[in-house]
């Protein structure tokens, strides 16, 4: 049996354990927590976009539903975070099954529009089902998680809570991808007809990936809710979907390190651009645009490819296309 975590990743893990203690302010630590949560959302998006090759525009629905589900379960029923978060994952997964079952019969743009429509419907529900969600006023005073009677509330403990979930999800996704199931996903992304011709049940695999993706997004939502302790229907808005898509495109579709880099850049860059004042978001937009124009495979592949070319100088162009 292989170990849970490969030795070569230990250095990275240590870096991330030390990181929150090195950063200067609680504001930056706050960003680190956010980066972790959004990384989960981006990883979930990539499972559908990068592995089964379907452009989903509904990821915020699962993010938002996960947030509301965990918050409501924890607060109204007085159930601890550890169980409410599982509730969030399950509810997001069930919703993902229904939405996936309907929308995955469609391809390409039609699929994208359907998922977008579903997300809008979920947002309308969150806005109008006031008895449950308190509507546009937002849902407040969400309890913090606690362990052995200690509240996980401030940035550093919450950072580690998020970190553990991120590592766990990375391990799950990696194992999923390096398995017959993951190869079936790749086959579907590359050539759907051929996948079918060798006996792969394309629809079932698509729904499966979609449900797993929804569950991870639900987890991210739950983590978000218990961290900020306030959520509003905005969480189901298109801006979170587009943010996750940006992270995936900028970092690199279909690669776990790529998506993580994308999430890191997308969370940290706007903040470092604050010195640019009002031009901040415009500059950010231009940087993203340039990234996509000049590194269409994502930052990670460009850098990895560049290093590879450097190491074997004979001009042997190695294309990195399979999963990393």
């Amino acid at each position: 049996m292989k170990r849970l975590i490969d030795k070569k990743y230990l250095v990275l893990i240590i870096v991330f354990i030390v990181l929150p203690f090195l950063v200067p302010s609680s504001y930056v630590r706050n960003l680190l927590v956010l980066a972790g949560i959004f990384a989960l959302l981006a990883l979930s998006t990539d499972l559908v976009l990068g592995y089964i090759g379907q452009l989903t525009l509904g990821q915020s629905a699962f993010f938002g539903v996960g947030a509301y589900a965990s918050a409501i379960i924890a607060k109204e029923l007085g159930i601890p975070f550890w169980i409410s978060i599982i509730g969030a994952i399950v509810i997001a997964g069930v919703l993902g099954y229904f939405i996936g079952f309907i929308s995955l019969r469609l391809r390409g743009g039609y699929f994208a529009i359907t998922t977008l429509a579903f997300a809008q419907i979920m947002k309308l529900i969150a806005n109008n089902w006031i008895e449950l969600t308190r509507g546009p006023m937002g849902y407040t005073k969400i309890p913090s998680p606690s362990i052995f009677g200690l509240e996980i509330k401030s940035e550093i403990p919450y950072y580690f809570l998020t970190f553990i979930f991120v590592v766990l999800i990375i391990i799950i996704i990696k194992r999923l991808i390096d398995s017959p199931t993951g190869r079936a996903y790749l086959a579907i992304r590359e050539q759907e007809d051929l996948a079918r011709a060798v006996g792969i049940d394309v629809f079932r695999h698509k729904v499966q990936a979609f449900v797993i993706s929804a569950m991870i997004a639900g987890l991210a939502g739950g983590l978000y809710a218990h961290y900020f302790r306030f959520i509003s229907p905005d969480l189901l808005g298109i801006q979170y979907t587009s943010m996750a898509l940006m992270m995936v495109f900028v970092g690199g579709r279909g690669s776990i390190p790529g998506v993580l880099i994308g999430a890191g850049i997308y969370t940290v860059l706007p903040e470092t651009l604050r010195m640019a004042g009002t031009l901040r978001m415009s500059i950010f937009g231009v940087i993203l645009l340039l990234c996509i124009m000049f590194m269409p495979g994502g930052i990670y592949r460009s850098i990895a490819g560049w290093i590879k070319r450097k190491s074997k100088k004979n001009g042997n162009i190695v294309q990195q296309t399979t999963v990393s």
Binding site: M1, K2, I172, R175, L176, D178, S179, P180, T181, R183, A184, L186, A187, E190, Q191, D193, L194, A195, R196, A197, V198, G199, I200, D201, V202, Q208, Q319, T321, T322
Partner: protein
């Protein structure tokens, strides 16, 4: 009993009968050719056999079991495996991975086995890799295992397509114009390969334009024209069938 029986197979697209009450049998171990001019319904027939389309009427029976309405991926699991008219492989994956995906259905471990990395998962992965190597050796592409499929020569790409289909462990292999676009030496290689496949005990149905290949390799040929079967017989019989000659070359004046 025939391995595959086709009874009154009909497919209509709107008002057009692309295939009209076609009947034929495929016996175990043979190489059957399906020929006909463009638009004769060859590919439609093919797509009905593989479940890519569902027929308007008629039956497809495989090993005594009706598979007429089974979706394509399920037929592949039964052992009816196809290739495509236009090169169809996983261009961005390596040759090895292409074949590995072909073997997919032989993997018996579950998703839980994979996520928990149980012993069953590893042993199945090993089995699959051995199977891929076997297929690679069979088609003689061992040296190209790590190349991306898109970087192969055209002839090798078409060979790889057949390898993917073989990896899926077919009982009956349906090849849709495998020689299309091949040069004579590539097409001679293909002929050899199909003969080798026959030695494995796999039945082959071939839809093909390359007459030389069809006449050389097929034991039996079916000729379609305007969706109707107009002739069936050995290559010799087909070559001397006046109706077939007329369809291909026109009437003698």
């Amino acid at each position: 009993m025939a391995l595959l029986q086709v009874e009154n197979l009909t497919k209509e697209f709107g008002g057009l009968k692309a295939l009209n009450s076609v009947c034929f049998d495929v016996s175990e171990g043979e190489i059957l050719g399906v020929i006909g001019p463009n638009g004769a319904g060859k590919t439609t027939c093919f797509n009905l056999l593989t479940g890519y389309y569902l027929p308007t009427a008629g039956k497809v029976v495989f090993k005594g079991e009706e598979v007429t309405n089974l979706p394509d991926y399920k037929r592949a699991l039964y052992g009816i495996v196809r290739t495509f008219q236009h090169t169809n492989l996983f261009p961005k994956l390596t040759v090895f991975d292409n074949i590995l995906i072909g073997c997919q259905r032989q993997h018996k471990s579950t998703l839980a086995d994979a996520l928990l990395r149980r012993k069953k998962f590893y042993s199945d992965e090993e089995l699959l890799k051995a199977e891929v190597k076997r297929v690679l050796a069979f088609i003689g592409m061992q040296e190209m295992a790590d190349m991306n499929a898109e970087n192969l020569s055209y002839g090798d790409q078409r060979k790889l397509e057949i390898a993917i289909a073989l990896a899926a462990n077919p009982e009956i292999l349906l090849l849709d114009e495998p020689a299309a676009g091949m040069n004579p030496s590539e097409s001679a290689g293909l002929l050899k390969l199909i003969k080798e496949i026959q030695k494995l005990g796999i039945t082959t149905v071939l839809v093909e334009h390359d007459m030389k290949l069809v006449m050389n390799i097929c034991e039996r040929i079916i000729v379609l024209n305007y969706g109707v079967k107009i002739a069936e017989g050995t290559p010799y019989e087909i070559r001397n069938n006046p109706q077939v000659v007329e369809v291909y070359l026109g009437k003698r004046k």
